[in-house]
């Protein structure tokens, strides 16, 4: 077993996701603590992607037709092969949809310790990983021992810029192992073309469960209009069908980084925070002064969101001379 850190790159539709770079930054720091190197494995993907992984000390590529699109079976097998060959101390996988298909399976089959939803990893003789659980209400640190371990890293745990870098060493190639073919990829389905791309807006008025009823979304829309922004929402409202999926911010939705993110009636569960932590200014409005969102927001207001929306809209329209 080496003292190396292996980061598993993740990509979809031709783009590496931010988590990859966040993990590279974290991985490099961790490798430094362990006295080893930080490599990254790219399963599938293309040369352009490989070229973006310059921050790593080495790149391993496993490529082949069966790996063109993400497939839990073939990708897990490929990862297992790489881990078997390289024997890293720590394997870092994103705590994402794809990551979930890989991490636990690897840990069980390779007999490695595993910590999920991690926001920090500390290296040394024994690895310690801090996980965020119970809806973000508790952080728990686990002693992952002195052997190998898998760490599933929460998006946004580390700055992505620390992991960016062009160029780097020529990637090493490994052949994809054969698989039984029990999982077959059939194709991707794009969400219905949305009216609005919330990732491009500078101002987002986001609504959560505190909104009460579908009718109240109107007030948010009026405010968004007055501010020249767009309405976004957390998962519960999307599930209830009150807004289309293209408006969803969060772990299973979109990641946004607007100038101003107005979080109305949103409690601040980690799954949602994952999607908007990058906003420059987060202003939260909630009647519950203990809501976790106030821990992340820059400004907070404990008031009824309906009142706030109405008053804001009114005042803004007055100023604009409407």
């Amino acid at each position: 077993m080496s003292q190396d850190v292996l980061v598993v790159a993740e990509h979809l539709q031709g783009n590496l996701n931010d988590t990859t770079f966040e993990m590279l930054g974290m991985g490099k720091a961790l490798a430094g603590q362990l006295g080893g190197s930080c490599s990254v494995v790219l399963i599938g993907g293309d040369d352009a992607m490989a070229g973006q992984l310059g921050a790593a000390d080495s790149v391993v590529r496993v490529d082949g037709e069966s790996l063109a699109d993400f497939n839990p079976e073939s990708h897990a097998a490929a990862l297992e092969a790489v881990v078997g060959a390289k024997s890293p101390r720590v394997v870092m996988i994103g705590y994402t949809s794809m990551g979930m298909d890989l991490a636990s399976r690897l840990a069980v089959r390779a007999g490695m310790a595993h910590a999920a939803s991690c926001i920090a990893v500390a290296g040394g003789e024994r690895i310690r990983a801090t996980s965020q659980i119970y809806g973000g209400k508790m952080n728990v640190t686990t002693d992952l021992g002195s052997g190998q371990c898998v760490v599933s890293v929460l998006a946004g745990a580390s700055p992505a810029d620390a992991g960016r870098g062009e160029g780097g060493p020529a990637p090493e190639s490994m052949a994809p192992p054969a698989v039984a073919g029990r999982i077959r990829f059939k194709g991707l389905i794009e969400p219905e073309a949305g009216d609005v791309d919330i990732t491009t807006h500078e101002v987002l008025v986001a609504v959560g469960r505190g909104i009460g009823s579908k009718d109240d979304i109107e007030v948010a829309e009026e405010l968004a209009e007055a501010l020249g922004g767009a309405v976004a929402a957390s998962r519960p409202l999307i599930d209830a069908g009150w807004l289309p999926k293209t408006r969803q911010v969060g772990k299973s939705g979109l990641k946004v980084s607007p100038k101003v993110y107005l979080a109305l009636g949103i409690s601040g569960a980690p799954e949602h925070l994952e999607g908007m932590k990058g906003a420059s200014t987060i202003i939260a409005v909630n009647t519950d002064k203990h809501a976790p969102i106030f821990g992340v927001a820059h400004y907070g207001l404990v008031e009824d969101l309906f009142d706030v929306c109405e008053e804001l809209t009114e005042q803004i329209e007055e100023r604009q001379g409407c």
């Binding site: 009823s213 209830a240 009647t287 309906f306 109405e310």
Partner: protein, 671 residues
């Protein structure tokens, strides 16, 4: 007066019509009999005696629509009297020489009445026909999204009205005309037949034979129509003549706020027509299709698919059409197929307005609750409602918040409210979910606590031991959960020592008073308005700062209409030195805020035109110079404050609780 041939012909006609009619009536009995059991046999004599008086004075009609009720009274008295008139006509026809004209004082009195009442009936009937066919009042129409049977949608009620109207006009008209012809024949008027005498000269030009023929024609028209109408009765809303008094007499004698027990716990509620208790099926035969219930209904007024009137009318048209199969036991019908829609079922706020206003004693709301029971049992609830029910089950409150936080509102007080679970108190205060968890309502709870504390009242609360009393759980049809809550709350209360309970919430008040039965023992249950009034009267609360201003008070459904609690809140407001104005719809006629029946837990219907609460605020704003809209229910507080905001009238009218005035009038520091 009739010839022998005519006499025989009439008897034959009558017998034939009676046979056909009897078949129709027999089927009605059988169909009603297929309903589930209900015991209405207590104190039968006093039931019918009361109904005799009510109907005789037309009291149920005059609850609303005074003008229409007046004209109906004409028709009612006229038609009631016409029983004697028709007997007299038969005597005239079959007994040679029988006539009341020129007779003694009884006969003359009879003549006068029959003359005047004939005109009254005609005037009344013309009024109703003109109203329906020329005036076309909106009240007689349904919302576009209300489910109607095809024959109803095609104007079945109008056709029925026309037939009945024409029948009455012809029957009474021809009888009155016959009298006029008779007088014309005699050649002179009769002071006891003023209107007929006035018309008689018109016919004086006719020959005696013509007049004779004319009066026979009139007789046959009048009496023939009655007999021919007999088989039509079972199919017509005119049946209410016979059914309404029975329906009124056999109405429930239990408190309004006490729900019917579940009849069959393996199959609770109603899916098919015959799952309804027989009085509910009787309702459809009593219905006069006047739409008073719909007019009073907050759900229909706000544009939703619910119409209690359509519910009963659809039922009636269904039992008419399917009468043969229903009576023989072969056929049945699903209520959600013919009577109403699922959306309508969930639109009901259970405000009781439809039941209260119905002149013939119908209870459409009960049908809806039975439908809810069966839908809930099949797990078919609106999604939001399912979540609330789960919260109530797991946490004992509809907010989904921790039970531990139930008494958090007390932290703001600078004194500790005794824990009724641990020490005996005089008054046990049962708050309810909203008064405990909603931020606006918490402020009111705090004020009530301060007021009572300042008045030296010995009261306590159950802290985390309190769970929702379950009033609206029952009204959305979750009987099992309701039973579970009753069990738990009863046990909690049984371990406490107290003399009386008072509640912040009318819904809680209703449940504890009427639905918890004898499990509550002999403890009195009060609404806090009664307690405040008691304290004011006894001097424990001294109101030294006259408040001034003008206020209007909104009667909450579960305190007012359900339990008759109208005056205490008003006296409290007035004792605080505030002038009280009444909205047009007040006391029993109060207009629901739209939160009851679990509606506050559900989403608004997409066809909603205006919330009931907004409708009510506009009504209040119509009062000259009103400053305050006063409530005595936590849900009213939140609904009406929202409505004032949505309508954009903040600053013009302020929504307050009665305790706000008391606190200020007492000069309490905290506001």
């Amino acid at each position: 007066m009739l010839s022998q041939a005519e006499r025989i012909a009439f008897i034959v006609l009558t017998v034939l019509c009676l046979i056909v009619a009897a078949q129709g009536f027999r089927r009605i009995f059988k169909i009603i009999g297929r309903g589930r059991p209900a015991d209405r046999s207590d104190r039968l004599v006093s039931r019918f005696a009361k109904t005799f008086l009510d109907v005789g004075l037309q009291r149920p009609m005059f609850k609303t629509r005074p003008v229409a009720s007046l004209f109906h009274a004409f028709i009612f008295f006229g038609f009631s009297f016409y029983f004697l008139v028709n007997v007299n006509d038969l005597l005239e026809a079959y007994v040679e020489g029988w006539s009341t004209i020129g007779g003694g004082p009884v006969a003359s009195g009879f003549n006068l009445l029959s003359d005047l009442l004939s005109v009254a009936v005609l005037v009344g009937m013309v009024f109703f026909l003109v109203r329906r066919f020329v005036g076309k009042p909106k009240a007689l129409e349904f919302n576009a999204n209300v489910k109607l049977l095809p024959r109803v949608r095609q104007g079945g009620v109008r056709i029925d009205s026309l037939i009945v109207g024409i029948f009455i006009l012809l029957h009474v008209g021809s009888r009155w005309l016959g009298t006029a012809l008779h007088l014309a024949d005699k050649g002179h008027g009769d002071p006891w037949l003023p209107t007929a005498s006035a018309a008689a000269p018109l016919f004086s030009g006719l020959s005696p034979e013509a007049l004779e023929t004319g009066s026979h024609v009139c007789w046959w028209t009048a009496m023939g129509l009655i007999v021919l109408f007999l088989p039509y009765f079972p199919r017509s809303k005119h049946l209410h003549l016979m059914v309404a008094p029975v329906n009124l007499a056999l109405g429930r004698s239990t408190p309004r706020g006490e729900s019917d027990p579940v009849i069959d716990s393996s199959q609770p509620g109603a899916t098919a027509l015959t799952d309804l208790a027989w009085p509910q099926i009787l309702d459809s035969y009593a219905c006069i299709m006047c739409n008073r219930c719909q007019e009073a209904c907050p759900a229909h007024t706000s544009g939703t698919p619910l119409s209690p009137a359509a519910l009963e009318i659809n039922k009636r048209y269904f039992v008419n059409e399917a009468a043969v199969g229903l009576a023989s036991g072969e056929a049945d019908g699903n209520l959600l197929d013919f009577a109403t829609s699922v959306e309508a079922v969930w639109s009901c706020t259970t405000c009781y307005a439809c039941v209260r206003v119905c002149p013939v004693g119908n209870e459409p709301m009960m049908d809806l609750v039975e439908l809810r029971r069966s839908l809930v049992f099949d797990g078919e609830t609106p999604d939001e409602l399912a979540e609330v029910l789960r919260n109530l089950d797991e946490k004992g409150n509809s907010f989904g918040q921790s039970a531990r936080r139930r008494a958090r509102w007390t932290k703001q007080l600078d004194f500790k409210i005794p824990d009724a679970r641990k020490q005996s108190v005089q008054y046990l205060w049962y708050l309810g979910d909203f008064a405990s968890y909603d931020p606006q309502c918490q402020e009111v709870s705090q004020k009530v606590a301060r007021v009572l504390h300042a008045a030296g009242v010995d009261f306590g609360i159950l802290y985390e031991g309190e769970k929702s009393a379950g009033n609206d759980v029952r009204r959305v049809g979750e009987e099992g959960l309701f039973d579970a809550l009753v069990e738990q709350n009863t046990q909690t209360l049984a371990e406490c020592e107290y003399q009386a309970i008072f509640t912040s919430d009318p819904h809680t008040f209703n449940a504890l008073k009427n639905e918890y039965g004898t499990t509550n023992g002999d403890h009195e249950v009060m609404h806090y308005s009664s307690l405040l009034l008691e304290l004011i009267r006894s001097g424990s609360i001294e109101l030294t700062h006259d408040q001034g201003g003008r206020a209007t008070y909104h009667d909450p459904c579960y305190l007012g209409r359900y339990n008759g609690g109208f005056e205490a809140p008003r006296e409290v407001i007035q004792a605080s030195g505030v002038e009280l104005l009444e909205m047009p719809r007040n006391r029993e006629n109060s207009f629901c805020c739209g939160a009851g029946g679990g509606r506050i837990w559900m989403q608004d219907h997409e066809d909603l035109t205006e919330r009931p609460s907004e409708n009510r605020i506009r009504e209040a704003l119509g009062l000259d110079g009103v400053d305050y809209f006063v409530v005595s229910c936590p849900k009213d507080l939140t609904m009406y404050r929202d409505a004032v905001k949505t309508l954009g009238h903040e600053g013009e009218i302020e929504v307050r609780d009665i305790v706000d005035f008391v606190a200020e009038a007492m000069g309490l520091d905290a506001s």
